[in-house]
């Protein structure tokens, strides 16, 4: 299946794009997604490793199954406040 991941801040800057699309197996979890994103765009490797994924408005576990219907985002380490 194809999944599109929204990118923010330094991740958007590293990829040079607002989002990135990757192909993954139907039964992939977010750890698999992290690998696919890093393979597709090596410049994102550090922020994928340090960051988390969100589906909709919630953080997800690396072991959770990827839901391709959700709005998926890469959330690099945050610095609000």
């Amino acid at each position: 299946m194809q999944v599109t991941i929204q990118l923010f801040a330094g991740a958007r800057e590293a990829a040079g794009a607002d989002n990135i699309a990757v192909d993954i197996d139907d039964d992939s979890n977010y750890a698999d997604l992290a690998e696919a994103v890093t393979a597709a765009c090596p410049a994102l490797a550090p922020l994928v490793a340090a960051g988390r994924f969100a589906a909709g408005d919630q953080y997800v576990d690396k072991s959770a199954a990827v839901n391709p219907a959700a709005d998926i985002a890469l959330i690099p380490p945050v610095s609000g406040g």
Partner: protein, 143 residues
């Protein structure tokens, strides 16, 4: 109540909302743009958010604080876009019958916000360079 705003934060309105007759203590926290970090000079900051998720996470924090402490009022506002030196990027106000609760809630809320709310800061340095700030987990958010 929580909000994200592109405008300067109205601290007078936050205090007015918190100063209710049921409260005895109000604590207001402001995070402001600091000019120097070590020797590096900042001219302004700009902030970006995953807006819908940031709102959801801020609401979760407000509700959690209200469950944990007997708060009369609790509001969190984060500014997005450019924030000049000495202006507030974030404001948190908490009021409670007794002061310990307002202090603890305010401190807890800013600590949690800096850990979990998807907002990012971009430093604009005096030498013309800019840099998105993505702290490594254990050194995050000393301010």
């Amino acid at each position: 109540m929580i909000s994200l705003t592109q405008s300067p934060i109205d601290t007078g309105a936050l205090l007015a909302a918190a100063q209710q007759p049921a409260a005895g203590a109000v604590v207001l926290f402001l995070g402001i743009t600091r000019e120097f970090t070590d020797d590096r000079q900042t001219t302004q900051l700009s902030y970006e958010a995953h807006a819908s998720m940031a709102e959801t996470q801020l609401e979760r924090l407000e509700h959690a604080a209200r469950e944990r402490w007997p708060l009369v009022e609790c509001q969190i506002v984060h500014r997005l876009g450019e924030v000049p030196l000495a202006e507030a990027s974030v404001a948190i106000v908490a009021s409670s019958p007794h002061r310990a609760d307002a202090f603890e809630a305010g401190r807890w809320l800013i600590d949690e916000l800096k850990r979990d709310v998807p907002i990012w800061k971009r430093e604009h340095y005096a030498d013309g360079t800019t840099e998105w700030v993505h702290p490594q987990s254990e050194q995050s958010g000393a301010r």
